[in-house]
Symmetry: C2
Subunit: 189 residues, 2 copies
C-alpha cells in the first residue's frame, strides 16, 4: 500500500467560495466564506460555518437574515479583500453595487452572477463556531447565465477555493453526467 | 438592473464530491455525497448532510464512525455508480480496494488520492435529514500527491460536482493566491 498518514488538519479539496452579506449598523457588509453546503432542496437550505466573533456574525444574529453571493473569477481580488479585512475596521459598503430583493435588510451583490437571500432557521454551535442553517427565500441570476432556465455554472464561471494552499481556481473540464456514467458498470459492482 | 428572480431550489455551484464509507452488516459500503463542508480546523471537523433512510446512514448511526474518500476524475464512473445504487440492493464491498487505518470499522478507498476517517461528534436533524458532524481522526494520501508535505489539489485531480445540472467536472486554472490578491486594493474599499 502506498498510502501514508498525513496531518488531519492539512488536507484540502475544491470548495465554493462566497460573499456572505448582512447589514451591520445599517450598512451593508460582506465577508468571504468557503465552509458552506446545501442541506436541503425543498425548501432550499444552506449551512454556513462562521467564526462567532466576525463582524458579519453579529449582524446575522441580530437580523436573522443573510445573503450568499457567488463571485465569478474576475471578482477574485474583491473577494479576497473581503476575506482579509474585517468590517470592524474597513467599510466595505461601497465595494460592490448593492441591490435588495424581498428581504429588506439583506444586501445582494449586483456584480455576482448568483445571489441568494436567506432567513436563519437555526444556529448550532460547533467547536465554538456558528453553524448557521439558512432557508433560501430568494435567488437571483441573469438571463445571460441561464441554460434552459437554470443558472449554468460554466457560464457563471464561479470562483473555487482550496485550503490549506489558499488558492483560487476556475472550474475545469466537463467530466460526465451524473446518474448516467454509473450505468456502464454491472450492478454486481 | 439585469438581475432576475429564479427558483430558490434551482441553482448550483461547484461542490466537492465524496464517497462516504461505513460498515453495514460487517461489509464495507460506500455512498456518494456532495453536501459536505469543513466546520473546524483544530480539531479538523466536517459536516456531512445525508438522508436519514440511506443504507449508509444506518451504518453510521450504529458505528458512530465513517470515512470520507475524495475520488479523482478517473473514478467518476464508480463514484456515480455508488450514488445510483443503494447498498440495500447492491453489494458495493468489492467495488474498490479497501484498507483500514486507525479506526477498525472504517473502510477507506485505496484508489482515492485522499481518504479521511471520522468519529461522529454530533448528529443534527435538519429538514428531516441527518447533518453529521464528524471529527477527522485519521487522514491518508500518497507521496506522489504531496507538495511541501500537503496533498496538492491539482496533483490529486479531484472530482467536482454541480447541481441541478448533475455534472462532474475537473478543477480548472489557477486564478490567484488568497490573502495576497486582496492586498492590491486600497483599504477604504
Amino acid at each position: 500500500m502506498k498510502k501514508i498518514s498525513i496531518n488531519t488538519s492539512n488536507f484540502g479539496y475544491p470548495m465554493p467560495i462566497v460573499l456572505i452579506g448582512t447589514e451591520v449598523q445599517e450598512k451593508p457588509n460582506f465577508m468571504t466564506a468557503a465552509w458552506m453546503t446545501h442541506v436541503n432542496l425543498e425548501p432550499s437550505m444552506l449551512a454556513v460555518c462562521l467564526s462567532r466573533d466576525h463582524f458579519t456574525s453579529g449582524g446575522i444574529r441580530e437580523n436573522k437574515t443573510f445573503s450568499v453571493n457567488f463571485p465569478y473569477t474576475s471578482l477574485a481580488i474583491k473577494t479576497d479583500f473581503c476575506g482579509m479585512n474585517s468590517g470592524k475596521e474597513t467599510d466595505k459598503s461601497t465595494l460592490f453595487t448593492v441591490f435588495h430583493g424581498k428581504l429588506k435588510n439583506v444586501p445582494l451583490i449586483e456584480e455576482c452572477p448568483l445571489c441568494v437571500g436567506c432567513t436563519v432557521s437555526n444556529i448550532y454551535s460547533v467547536a465554538g463556531d456558528m453553524l448557521l442553517i439558512g432557508e433560501v427565500v430568494e435567488a437571483y441570476s441573469e438571463e445571460k447565465y441561464l441554460t434552459q432556465g437554470s443558472p449554468d455554472v460554466k457560464k457563471m464561471n464561479l470562483l473555487i477555493f482550496t485550503m490549506p494552499d489558499n488558492r483560487y481556481w476556475s472550474l475545469g473540464e466537463y467530466v460526465g453526467q451524473a446518474w448516467e456514467m454509473g450505468k456502464t458498470l454491472p450492478k454486481e459492482g
